[in-house]
Structure formats: C-alpha cells, structure tokens
Symmetry: C2
Subunit: 441 residues, 2 copies
Amino acid sequence: MLTLQDIAITQWSQLTRSEQQATLARPEQSRSAQLKETVRNIIERIKLEGDVALLDYTRQFDCADIEQLVLDDAQKQALLAQVSDRAKAAIDKAYDNIRAFHVAQTPEDITLTTSPGVQCTLKYTALESVGLYIPGGSATLPSTALMLGVPAQIAGCKTRVLVTPPNKQGEMSPEVVYAAEKCGIETLVMCGGAQAVAALAYGTESVPKVDKVFGPGNAFVTEAKQQLSQNDSGISIDMPAGPSELLVLADDTANPRFVAADLLSQAEHGPDSQVILVTPSAAVASAVQAELVTQCNALPRIDIARQALASSRLIVTQSLAEAVAVTQRYAPEHLAVQTEDAAELSAQLTTAGSIFVGHYTPESGGDYATGTNHVLPTYGYAKNYSSLGLLDFYRRYTLQEVTREGLAELAESITTLADIEGLDAHKRAVTIRLEAQEGNS
Amino acid sequence: MLTLQDIAITQWSQLTRSEQQATLARPEQSRSAQLKETVRNIIERIKLEGDVALLDYTRQFDCADIEQLVLDDAQKQALLAQVSDRAKAAIDKAYDNIRAFHVAQTPEDITLTTSPGVQCTLKYTALESVGLYIPGGSATLPSTALMLGVPAQIAGCKTRVLVTPPNKQGEMSPEVVYAAEKCGIETLVMCGGAQAVAALAYGTESVPKVDKVFGPGNAFVTEAKQQLSQNDSGISIDMPAGPSELLVLADDTANPRFVAADLLSQAEHGPDSQVILVTPSAAVASAVQAELVTQCNALPRIDIARQALASSRLIVTQSLAEAVAVTQRYAPEHLAVQTEDAAELSAQLTTAGSIFVGHYTPESGGDYATGTNHVLPTYGYAKNYSSLGLLDFYRRYTLQEVTREGLAELAESITTLADIEGLDAHKRAVTIRLEAQEGNS
C-alpha cells in the first residue's frame, strides 16, 4: 500500500542551496570495486575462452542450459510462428513511425572550396559492424530491438548482431525475433550481461566482433560497456547509462490524473527509477499526490513503483520561470511539459533527452510508437550527450584535395605556423613540393 | 644519424597472419597502474582544494611560479602586442578556412509528422559550456586553439574556457592568445596536465566547470579525460587520444621526396608517432627509404623523428587493391593518397580520420590551414569515432507533440507493446487520456 505520507511535497524556495542540490541529486550508482572486479574477470574469461565461457555464464546467470548461442533459421521460424497478429500489427506500426523519423535524419556529405584550389569534404560512412544489446530477464523488449535495429538498418551497417539473454527455457522472445527480422538483423545471439558485451567487443567462435555496442542494460552491462570502451578491445559505445527518469513540468491547466499516470509509467520501470513533478501550482501538486496513491495501488507492479516513488519528488516553485530553471538544472532523460502553450514553453527547454509536449503526449507514446528513439541520456548526461539517432550509426571523416596552385596560396600560412610551432618537417613538406618542377610528381 | 638499416621494407604477402597483425599493431599505450593512481590523486586534490592545488601543481609540473591562473585584460593586451604581423596573417588565413568549412557543417532541426496528429522534432542545441585543452610544454600550438575555438564559437557555446600550461616564465604563448581572441574566448587559464582537466570538470574558484572537455594531450591529460568521463563529475570528452599517425598510400606515380617529407612531418611530432608507407611498388618503397635517410638527417628534430621511424613500416603489397585493404585495416588518423586518380581511389577509403588526396596535398596542409579539423581519432579509433567537427559542440534531442486524435491512432500499438513488455502503467497513461472527456485537461 502506498499512502500520502510516502510522497512528500517540497517547496523549492524554502530549501537552502545544499538542500536544493540534494533534492535534484540522482540516487548514487553502485560502481563498487567488487562490481568492477567481477566484470573485469568476466571480460578476461570471454576474451580467452570465447563460446565456452559464454555458454557457461549463460547457464550460471540466466539459468538457461543451451548448446547453441546463435539462432538458426529453424529456431527463428518456430519463434516467428508464435507471434500473434495483434503483436505483429503493433510492432509494424511502431516500426513505420520510427523508420520514418530516422530516415529523415539521413546525413548529407558536405564539400566546400575553402580557398582557390583547396577543396574540403566532410563525409559520412555507416559503421561497419554494430552490436545491439537488448535487455531480457523478466521482461521482453521488442521496442528496444526496434530502437536500435531500425537506425542500424537505415544506415546500412554491414554486420548487425543482436544479443539478448534467453529465458530459463533457453529461448529468445518471439516478439524480439519478429522486430529483429523487420530490421533485417541476421545474427541473433542468446546471451546477456557483461559476458554478452565482452563477446561483441572481442568476438568469439559464434559472435562476430563489432566496432560499437549500443543499448541499455543493468549494472553489469553498463560496467562492461564502460570498461570495454577504454581497454584494448577498441570498441566505442553509445552513451553512459543510468536508471530511467521522468520529470513532468505542469501548470494549473494540467490534468492530475494524466500527470500521475505518466509518473507511474516511469516508476514501474524499476525501483531505482526517478520521477519528479515540478509545478508552480500547489493545488496541482496536491492533486497529483492523491492521484499517485489511488493509481499506484491499482498497479500490478505496485512494489516496484512504490520503491521508485520513495526517491521521487513533487516540487512546488514560486513561478513557471523557476520551474523551467529547476527543469533545466535537473536535465531529465524524459521531460513531459503539461502546460498551457506547451509548445512555446518547450522551446526554452534544452537539457532533456526527449520532450513530450502537451497534455495528450504520454511518455509511453515515445517509448514505443511516436517515432522518436527511446535510448536517451540519463543521470544528468542530457547536458552533454545526444539522444540516440541515426547519426550514431555513422562516423564522420574529412578529405581535402589541394592543387599545386592551392598549395602555393596556403604556403605562407602553413610555413609560418610551422615556424611558430617549431615543426620544421611540417614546413618542408610544403616547400619541397613548391620547389619541385611542375609535373615532376 | 639515421641509416638505411634503421628502416626495414616489409613484403606484406610473405608475412604470416600473426606477423601481419603485429606489423599493423600500434605501439602499446602505457596506462599503468601507477599513472592511473597519480592521476586519480591529482583529480581528488583539485576537487577538494581548487585553485590552491592548481597553482601548486603548476609550480611542480610546469616549473612556473604564478599567482594568478586566469589572464586579465592587461596581460592579454601585453601578450597580443608581441604577436608579429606575419604570425597574425598566418593565423587569420587558417582561421578563415577553418571557419568556412565548419560553418558549412551547421546542422538543421528536423520536423516530421510520422502519423496523423503525431509530430516529431529533432533539435540541435549548442553545449552550454566547453573546456578547450591546448598542449604546451616545449611547443606552442595556436593551430589547436583554432581547431577547438572556431567550432565552439560557431556553435555559440556560452562558456568557453581555454586552458594551456604556461612556460617557465609563467607566461602564455602570445600566438595562442591571439588565436583565442579571434575565437572570442574570454577565459584563458594558465594550467595544464591532469590538473587542468580536473579543474574544468569540477570547476575551481577561478576555472568555470564545463560540460565537455576537448583537445589532445600527453598521457596524464588522456588518463584524466578517461577517468573524469566515467566518474561523478558528469563531463563528456571529445574522443580517446593516442599518439599521432600517418599512413601514405602510394603507387608508382608518387614522388618519393614528397612521400618522405610527409612521413617525416608526422615522425617529428613525437618519438611515439607512427608512420607507414603502403605501396604496390617496390621501387617507390626503396626510393622513399633512401629519401627518408637523406631528409631526416637534415632535420632539427632528427632525434624525435629517428625514434618514431624505429616503430614505422614501409610495406610492399602485391597490388593496389591489397594496399587499400591494408590501409582500411590499419584505420590511420591521417591518410595520404598519392596515386594516379587519387580522388577516385579515396572513395574506397572510409576508415581514416582525414584523407589527403593527391600529390600536392601534404598532411601539414590539413594540420594548419585547408579548413578541416586536425583533432582526429587515432589508435584504430578511426573505425568507430568521428573526426572532430562542428556537431561535437552541439547535442541532439527530440520532441514529440501528439493530439488527442493522434494518440487514439497510436493507442493500439502502444497498449499492445505495453502488454507484451508487461508494463501496465505505460498502457494506463494512454487509456486514462482516451477515457477522459474531451477538453477535460
């Protein structure tokens, strides 16, 4: 049972500076020495033993005794046959919207003549190989398979490997397989946790080595991504991951039932989810508090939601402007703006992963089907990391082509800068060319 | 003295698979336990003691006994007065080209109606605050100040902080100050090493805290960036850094004098620089070998270049196609293509930081003045990291605005996916809205 006492209402202006800081602080992340050591050992063993270790960890951590990591065609077909028409239609609709919004992000190369005879180009190229991590365990997450699989498909990454832990019966989720098929992912691997990320980073007999690993996960997955992105595997990762968050910015036009429903939809993700209401209206805060109690007690996942609400806040500010400032400072992963003129207000809000504008835009819309990506920066990283998009499946590099005349024109600048920086060979690479007889190349 | 014996020529096809791997291996990076511990202690002390520790480390590591970290106007004016007209003109020319090529990269927001009543937007916003690290020590690097300062200026990052170690007289390089002024950077701080990165990450009395730190540096700077990008400071960084590299891909139309000059311009950067020639022409390889000896022995920085050449390679392949494959596999930071139809061949080459196309495009052109950025992925990261560009000074985030009708249209997809994923509150956030009387919001 959740009661009113479990959810405090905070008056922002009555807090000291350090209390304000504490109010917006994220729950501390456990990156303990023991976690680091466990993950380091898992990585080391996967690197040395490959599939043998991967199968062993899958038995140990996922309680699944499988003999074959990669799904073959027969397995895929058998799983696909289990997917209901209703599930297919839901995934198809989400796929279409996600695809449309990500296709619209297709980058274009840029070519410019910066000075006569000097042509510079910025080119985009799809990453050659990507690993897509789909969390498993109790839930099955076809939506995450779409969020990672669709942009990888549009970019045209040649090698796309999806990994996800099997259930205790040693099977992959049929809906995840259906989503993966839509995205044209050929290699589906039954493994999860730190061991799956390590397998993608180094490659094993069954799992192709990839250049970049995407996707959310638990503390082990996150730690493995962190370690592998700085070690000899040479992989890169999408972004640092933390528990999921929602901040609702509401004024007195907000419907407290909608606000409470949104806060709970975030709270049910996990006990470490953080949900925050910021509003200049004390009446809305009280009404949301009451609605949270009513609605929470009717939820199947009440235990998870209750724990999440314990570290959550209902903050009353003195003005809408102050509410905006608090929001910008918190930098939420998900930001719902439920105010009059929500679109106008949203233009002032820049530090968020994704913004849900207006009373009829629930966060769960973007989680699944509006078309935006649901892989977003958490834990305050919405200040300096981008939301996942098509561009994360490309890399940018440059070219320049200079004619003899173009080089002559740049020579004075290059050689002077080389002099200032004390780099004589840099200078000579220019002068040796200009001294050469034309055509002597 | 460098002799022919110091530079071996390798026949690629005669190597075993593991010899090929060793030939393309990067020199191992020392990320020793001791380095990590030293940097961890420096970070901890800066976090606790701020300016006091920063001044102390500057005395200790840069041998500069300064009392004031941030340049005031009088100091700036005095330094600017020392910059020669020739230096100003060289920096102005480089600035113009870099600015033109980076302005051309200005991103545009994307808005799309993915289904009726569902509008999705991808927005770009400049990072609020950025820290720009300019290495110092023996050299002074105004070019790096431009490469970081110009895109920060174009993006319009509000807080731009440049840090660079002072010389032993406690002064900043006049040319760096001039470049910074051109880029409109107001805060110039005399500090370097791990302590400077820590100061940017946490802020001190003098140094503003920033959201993202850019720029190359030595092993201490690199280690500090790695640690701080994964700790409680919450900063992000541009990319992992390693020693500089150049690979020249040449055929028999290449001029061995030009090739050798380019290889040496890279080799003089530091003893750990790696330079590689890949060519199907044994004659070119021999001629370049001879030219390296001649030219190297005439360089002021011969000692550095000699050490770098020790870990460098001249590789002869059986065909141009094989040379391309070797190049793609190595994924060099800098790639010079000195062949017939260099532009055409370059279109096949995708794993490089920056490509220098044709006989008259020396690497030092791009280091300074063509317009491309010289902050590039090294150490094989040209497979999965982008070259620095304007976009690195922005972040992307999304918005969605859904009408009641739009939500009704998406409802079946959202609620079905919520059912599959077992997230009841996600479903309720939709149904509660559609059950509500129209206008009851």
